[in-house]
C-alpha cells in the first residue's frame, strides 16, 4: 500500500524514469477503494456559448444591414444611422466582445480555401459574405452602422482635418498591402495578423494585453482629428468593401433630387469622400491631353508593375515564411544548434520532447516554404496590379457636374445629407 508516499520517493523517481510516455495512460498510484462510501465527483464542464446564439448574431447582422441600407438610401436619415450604429457598437462590440467580425473573417475564408483540414463555421462565412453583398447593392452601409470597429471611431470624431489628396491616396494603399499579407499568412496557416493587431478588441473586452489597449487608445486619440484612421489606413476588409461599393447598384446620395451646387456639403464629410464637380478641368484640352498620355503610360505600366511585384514577392518568400512558427523553429535550430542545450528556450525544448525527428521538422518547414514561394509571388503580383490600377484611376476623370460621394471611399454615414438644403421632390 502506498499510504505514505514520501517514503517511497525513490520508487517514484524510478517510475518516472522507467515509465516515460508508455505508462501515461496507466496510473502510478492505483485508484483508492474508499470504505466511507465516498463518490468521486466529475470535473465540471462549463458549456461554450450556445450555437443558436451564433445564428442569432447572423440574424442581427442581417437586420442591421437591412435597416442601415434603408436609412442610407431610402429614408435618408442620419439620425437613424447614428442610433443604429450605437446599437451595433454595444451589441457586436461590447456585448459580443468584437469577435467574430467581418474583417477577421477574411482570414477564415482564406484558410478554409487553402487548407481542406480547416472547417469554416457558417457564422464566420456569413459575416464575410453578407456585408459584401449589401455593399454591392447599397454601398458601404456595413461600415456606417454595423462594424463596431468603424463605429467606435466614428463616434469620437471631434475636429477632423482635411488631408491633401495625394497623402490620402498613398495612405489608402496600405490596406491593399495589409489585405494581401493577411490572406497570405492565413492561407499558409501561419498567423491571423488581422486579429493579432486588432486595435479595438481589447477595448470591447475591457481586458487585454498592454499593447492591444495602447494601440486602441492611440487610434482613438488620433481618430479625433484624422477621422476613422483604422478604416482608412489599415482596414483590409475596407478594400473589398470599396471594390463592391464602387459598382453598387444604388448608393447614398448627398442630395435628394437636383444638386444646386451650393457647396454646403463640401466641408461636411470628415473623410474627404465628397467629390466636387470636375466639369472645367475635364473640358480643358491641355489637361485632358496630358491625362491621356499618362493614362496610356499607366496602362502599359500595369503588367510591368504586376510582374515586378510578383518577382519581388517570390524573392521575399524565404523572409515571409519565417512568420510560420515551424519554419522559424527549423531555421533557428539550423542556424544556432547550440540552442538545443538551452533549457530556457521553450519552443526547442518542447520540440525535442515531442519525439518528432529533426528531419521531419525540416521537411515540414520545406513544404510550408514551398507554399510561400507561390503565395508570395501571387501576393506581390496582386500588390503590383493594384498599384497600377490605383495609378490609372488618378488620371481617369469622369464628367461630374454635381457634388457626389466617392462611391468607393464613402462610408455611407449620412452626415452630408443633413447639410443639403434641397427638399425632396414629391
Amino acid at each position: 500500500m502506498l499510504k505514505k508516499f514520501p517514503n517511497l520517493a525513490f520508487l517514484l523517481i524510478l517510475f518516472a524514469l522507467l515509465s516515460g510516455s508508455l505508462l501515461q495512460a496507466q496510473q502510478r498510484f492505483p485508484k483508492p477503494e474508499f470504505d466511507s462510501g465516498y463518490v468521486q465527483p466529475d470535473p465540471t464542464q462549463p458549456e461554450p456559448r450556445a450555437m443558436a446564439l451564433e445564428y442569432f448574431d447572423v440574424l442581427v447582422l442581417l437586420a442591421v444591414l437591412s435597416l442601415a441600407s434603408w436609412f442610407a438610401v431610402k429614408k435618408r436619415s442620419r439620425r437613424g444611422l447614428l442610433w443604429l450604429s450605437v446599437f451595433s457598437l454595444i451589441y457586436f462590440g461590447f456585448y459580443r466582445d468584437g469577435c467574430i467580425c467581418s474583417i477577421g473573417a477574411i482570414q477564415n475564408v482564406a484558410l478554409s480555401i487553402f487548407d481542406p483540414g480547416y472547417a469554416i463555421s457558417i457564422t464566420a462565412l456569413l459575416f464575410f459574405v453578407l456585408p459584401l453583398l449589401f455593399a454591392l447593392f447599397f454601398g458601404r452601409t456595413f461600415c456606417a452602422a454595423a462594424c463596431p470597429l468603424g463605429v467606435i471611431q466614428d463616434l469620437i470624431i471631434i475636429n477632423p482635418v482635411s488631408i491633401p489628396s495625394w497623402i490620402r491616396k498613398t495612405l489608402g494603399f496600405i490596406p491593399v498591402i495589409y489585405l494581401a499579407l493577411a490572406v497570405l499568412f492565413a492561407a499558409t496557416g501561419s498567423d491571423f495578423i488581422i486579429c493579432r493587431y486588432d486595435p479595438f478588441v481589447g477595448i470591447f473586452r475591457m481586458n487585454g494585453p498592454f499593447l492591444m489597449i495602447f494601440l486602441g487608445v492611440t487610434f482613438l486619440l488620433l481618430g479625433m482629428f484624422y477621422a476613422r484612421p483604422y478604416c482608412r489606413v489599415f482596414c483590409p476588409y475596407g478594400v473589398l468593401m470599396g471594390w463592391m461599393s464602387k459598382f453598387s447598384r444604388r448608393h447614398l446620395t448627398i442630395t435628394p433630387s437636383e444638386c444646386i451646387k451650393c457647396k454646403l456639403c463640401e466641408g461636411s464629410c470628415p473623410f474627404d469622400a465628397i467629390e466636387i464637380p470636375v466639369d472645367k478641368a475635364y473640358r480643358n484640352p491641355e489637361v485632358s491631353r496630358k491625362n491621356l498620355k499618362k493614362f496610356i503610360l499607366y496602362i502599359v505600366l500595369i503588367p510591368v508593375l504586376a510582374v515586378t511585384g510578383g518577382w519581388i514577392g517570390s524573392k521575399s518568400h524565404v523572409f515571409m515564411s519565417r512568420v510560420h512558427p515551424d519554419v522559424y523553429l527549423a531555421e533557428l535550430m539550423i542556424s544556432q544548434p547550440e540552442l538545443r542545450e538551452d533549457e530556457e528556450n521553450l519552443d526547442i525544448q518542447a520540440f525535442l520532447e515531442s519525439g518528432d525527428t529533426f528531419a521531419q521538422l525540416v521537411e515540414e518547414a520545406g513544404v510550408i516554404r514551398d507554399k510561400f514561394r507561390i503565395g508570395s509571388m501571387v501576393m506581390g503580383g496582386f500588390i503590383g496590379l493594384a498599384l497600377g490600377i490605383t495609378l490609372m484611376n488618378q488620371v481617369v476623370f469622369r464628367r461630374r457636374e454635381d457634388y457626389e460621394p466617392h462611391k468607393g471611399d464613402c462610408f455611407s454615414c449620412g452626415r452630408c445629407m443633413d447639410y443639403c438644403p434641397v427638399e425632396k421632390d414629391r
Binding site: 502506498l2 505514505k4 508516499f5 514520501p6 517514484l12 518516472a16 501515461q24 495512460a25 502510478r28 498510484f29 492505483p30 485508484k31 483508492p32 474508499f34 470504505d35 465516498y38 468521486q40 470535473p43 464542464q45 462549463p46 458549456e47 461554450p48 456559448r49 450555437m51 451564433e54 466582445d97 469577435c99 467574430i100 477577421g104 473573417a105 482570414q107 477564415n108 475564408v109 478554409s112 481542406p116 480547416y118 472547417a119 463555421s121 464566420a124 462565412l125 464575410f128 459574405v129 453583398l133 454591392l136 491571423f192 486579429c195 493579432r196 478588441v201 473586452r205 481586458n207 487585454g208 492591444m212 471594390w243 459598382f247 453598387s248 521553450l346 525544448q349 518542447a350 520532447e353 515531442s354
Partner: protein
Amino acid sequence: MEKKDKGHSRRTFINNGVRLALGVSVVGTAAFSVKNSASGKDYVWQIDPFKCTQCGRCATECVKATSAVKCVHAYALCGYCDLCGGYLKPGAKRETGAENQLCPTAAIQRKFIEEPYFEYIIDEDLCIGCAKCVKGCSAFGNGSLHLQIRQDLCVNCNQCSIGSSCPSDAISRVKADEPYKIKGDWIKEEES
C-alpha cells in the same frame, strides 16, 4: 442629348457587368470555402493534455488578463495522495526544491476523505493556468491535474493567441458540441 444618353447607358452596362462579376466571385468564394470545409460546425479551442508540455505560456499568452485556461482535476485518475505537489501541506518544509511545484496562488485546496486519502479541489477563481501543479503531477503523480480551456471564460478568438505561441501545438479547434478533452473520459488513442 442623345450622345449623353448613349454614354450613360454604356456606363450602366459596364457597371452592371462588373457588379455581376463581383457578386459571382463573392458567392463563388463562399461556395468554394464551404465545399472545401469538412463540416459547417462551430468550433472552439481546446488543449490536448497529452501534448501539453506545461511550459506556462497559457498563463501569460491569453488575451484575457486572467487566462481562460484553468487547471482541471480528473478525479478518476487521482491517487488521492496525502502529498500533492501543488498543495502546500501545513507545516511542510519549503527548501527542498519541491516548493517549485506549489500552486503560486494557493488555488488547490483539499478535503479529508478517509485515512489516508484526500480530495484535491481547484479553486478556479484563483487558478491562473500556470501549469506548475500539472508539471509536478505529470512527473511524479498520476497526471490527474491538467490544463483545459474553460469555455465559459474563453472568448473564442478567431485565432487562439495561446495556441499560436504554444511550443507543443497542443491547442487546436474542437467541435463545439464536444468542447473538452478532460483526461479520464477522453483518452489519447481516441483522437488519433
